[in-house]
């Protein structure tokens, strides 16, 4: 595929993303005309104050959250797939979501007072976010310590999966001993939700996501060479430990942030890199990283639109939608890879 085709593809995806962004804001139980939505977004004013509250207070933050989450999860998925040279790796293979869920489980199930019904205040939400962040940071720390001592990247992958399982086991124990109300609060968190992010939280989420994305740009050149395997990478003068640090830190910030604000959102991180590679027919991460960011935002917006059942007040959990979109793609990857091994 030549450069000009790729540029056209980029622009097409950008337009599609914008379109889906508008549709995402349009979608909802209350029908608001397109004109009023655009007016509200661009001028901050609206003929109808209720519409303004809905758009500015709820739908706009939700759509922006979808964009941030899509970008973050997809980039971390791409990084994980390349560094582990495994097409089925995703943002959570290092156990980041498990760490986060342990943190959240500890506060929701351990301190029911904070999350008692009718008592959910901004403070308790921040406590939950911090707990999730600390959980994923601890997992990151563990993985980093291991990767300093362990040469073989596959060992790190296996350890990541095992840490994840161990953490999940602890979470199960906590769930087993907790009260119904808290249990439901936790289960709802674990289903993922893009709509709980307030404006203030959105600002924090934007800053950390952008930080993670900026770090990921540093990894592009290294990921390109890592596709050849670590022996080749080292023979070309790459500092393997440094490259792992960059990738792991970036992935943990990105996946950790999404999990903290939206809960664990599955399959986007695995599926989007494959869609992007197939679209752009490239293995160059200097191109793939921005392309994955764009595709990730687009697919996440699409998923969010699909959570909105037409003509109904209720929404589906976002995790179910991403799974239903993502799983067929993962199956396609498995079948395609039977023909061509290994994948980068």
């Amino acid at each position: 595929m030549n450069e000009s085709l790729r540029i056209i593809l980029f622009i097409t995806l950008l337009c599609l993303t914008l379109l889906l962004f508008i549709i995402d804001i349009l979608a909802g139980p209350v029908a608001i005309p397109v004109h009023d939505i655009l007016q509200t977004i661009f001028t901050g004013e609206s003929a109808n104050p209720v519409w303004k509250t809905i758009v500015i207070g709820f739908r706009l933050p939700k759509a922006l959250t979808a964009i941030l989450a899509g970008m973050a999860l997809s980039v971390s998925g791409l990084q994980m797939q390349t560094i582990f040279r495994n097409p089925l790796a995703g943002p959570y293979v290092l156990g980041i979501s498990s760490g986060a869920s342990l943190g959240v489980a500890l506060v929701i199930l351990g301190f029911p007072v904070l999350f008692a019904q009718g008592n959910i205040n901004p403070l308790s939400i921040w406590v939950q976010i911090m707990a999730s962040w600390i959980g994923s940071a601890l997992v990151l720390l563990l993985i980093m310590t291991v990767s300093l001592r362990v040469r073989d990247i596959m060992t790190i992958l296996i350890l990541g999966v095992l840490f994840g399982s161990a953490t999940s086991a602890v979470v199960s124990i906590l769930q087993y001993f907790s009260h119904q109300t808290q249990l439901k609060a936790f289960v709802v968190w674990s289903m993922g939700n893009l709509g709980n992010v307030t404006k203030g939280q959105l600002a924090v989420m934007s800053v950390t996501t952008i930080a993670g994305l900026v770090i990921s740009f540093f990894s592009g050149k290294m990921l390109n060479v890592l596709q050849l395997g670590e022996s080749y990478a080292r023979s070309m003068g790459m500092n393997i430990t440094f490259s792992r640090m960059v990738v792991f830190i970036s992935t943990s910030i990105l996946a950790g942030t999404v999990t903290a604000f939206c809960g664990p959102v599955g399959f986007i991180g695995i599926a989007v890199p494959h869609i992007t590679r197939a679209l752009f027919k490239s293995a160059d991460h200097r191109l793939l990283i921005p392309a994955v960011i764009l595709t990730g935002a687009m697919i996440m917006l699409l998923s969010d639109i699909l959570t909105q059942l037409p003509g109904s007040d209720s929404t589906l959990p976002v995790n179910s939608v991403t799974a239903l979109i993502g799983i067929p793609i993962v199956i396609w990857v498995i079948f395609r890879n039977k023909k061509i091994t290994p994948v980068g």
Binding site: F217, F218, G220, K221, N224, V225, Q227, L228, G229, S231, Y232, R234, S235, M236, G237, M238, N239, R277, F280, K281, S282, A283, D284, R286, I340, T341, P342, V343, G344
Partner: protein, 342 residues
């Protein structure tokens, strides 16, 4: 009259092998001392498991030596920075690389890793070096192909082009001919020879392909029993260096043909006379079924080869009877049956 100023690489009393928890867990070779001049092509030969790959990996610093020093351009390799070393020594492993959606030109470009900035931006010079590497390796006609579309020969040349793009003085190649068919192997070695003698690359490669290594190496490193015997291939033949390599095996080195053959146990002997052009191949076929070729007159049983109207004929004189055959195959089949009967 030895010039010593062009020594590029020097191994001083180096031991190679593996360490586990800072204790030497396996020592594959000890006290290796070799010198390599700029522009030499060196073939590393040894049996499976003797430590060839370990030696090459030590050379490219993928693992450290257990003892001794490796000097390059007068400097200890361990005193050279990672990036600087990557600009001096390049490596091609045995691993077969096939990355989805990566083209030949993209793979070759990866060789510029140690030269480009943090984001990997290419300068005009980088482009030029990549183009040169592609041309030198003779793959310009396939540079836009995807890796999975390549044959093994093309893929190996692509890997060579990548290490050329890395622009190193020394190229270390682990079995560059491993997956190639015979014409491709010769082509690969011719390419390496050209790179060494015309482009001044110093090349160290390992191979199991002795006949090619004998023709296309300035020097061979024969690795056996933890030692290296080095010398020009011809010197090693003359001094019987090769015999060491296959001690305790079923193979013999034949000094006349510079080839290897299976050691055989012979159960009979026959004289072969007649047409010289047929005798050699007839003797070879006889050896395969355990019959040694004896001198004329020393054995009763004999085969006389001849051409009748341009077609080869074999006459077999066996216990006062004469049989005639029109192909080696028929002759051998008859003798095999005959042996079974008697």
């Amino acid at each position: 009259m030895h010039k010593t100023d062009d020594i590029l690489l020097e191994w001083k009393d180096v031991s190679i092998g593996y360490r586990k928890n800072n204790v030497i867990s396996s020592m594959l070779a000890e006290n290796l001392s070799m010198k390599v001049r700029t522009g030499e092509i060196i073939g590393l030969i040894g049996r499976n498991g003797c430590g060839k790959s370990t030696l090459l990996r030590t050379m490219v610093r993928l693992q450290s030596s257990l003892k001794g020093k490796i000097m390059i351009g007068g400097k200890d390799i361990n005193s050279i920075s990672r990036t600087e070393y990557a600009k001096t020594v390049g490596f091609v492993s045995t691993e077969s690389i096939s990355i989805h959606h990566m083209t030949v030109a993209e793979l070759v470009s990866l060789g510029r890793f140690p030269y480009t900035n943090w984001i990997g931006v290419f300068t005009a010079l980088d482009r030029e070096i990549v183009d040169n590497a592609i041309n030198l390796a003779g793959i310009s006609h396939i540079q836009d192909k995807y890796l999975y579309e390549l044959s093994d020969g093309e893929r190996q040349k692509t890997m060579i082009a990548r290490v050329l793009a890395q622009d190193t003085k020394v190229m270390v190649l682990d079995e560059p001919t491993a997956f190639l068919d015979l014409p491709n192997r010769y082509e690969m070695l011719r390419l390496l020879n050209e790179l060494a003698h015309q482009n001044g690359k110093t090349i160290i490669y390992s191979t199991h392909d002795l006949s090619i290594a004998l023709y296309e190496s300035d020097r061979l490193w024969l690795m056996a029993a933890g030692k290296i015997t080095e010398g020009a291939p011809e010197d090693l033949i003359i001094t019987k260096g090769f015999h060491k390599l296959f001690e305790n095996s079923d193979i013999d080195f034949n000094m006349d043909t510079a080839g290897f053959q299976l050691k055989r146990e012979f159960t009979g002997m026959m004289a072969v006379t007649g047409e010289a052009s047929l005798n050699y191949w007839t003797s070879r076929a006889l050896e395969r079924i355990g019959i040694r070729t004896g001198r004329e007159g020393s054995v009763k049983e004999s085969i006389v080869t001849d051409f009748q109207n341009g077609t080869p004929v074999w006459f077999l004189y066996l216990y006062d009877k004469t049989y005639s055959f029109y192909s080696v195959y028929d002759l051998i089949s008859f003798l095999k049956n005959y042996k079974k009967l008697t």
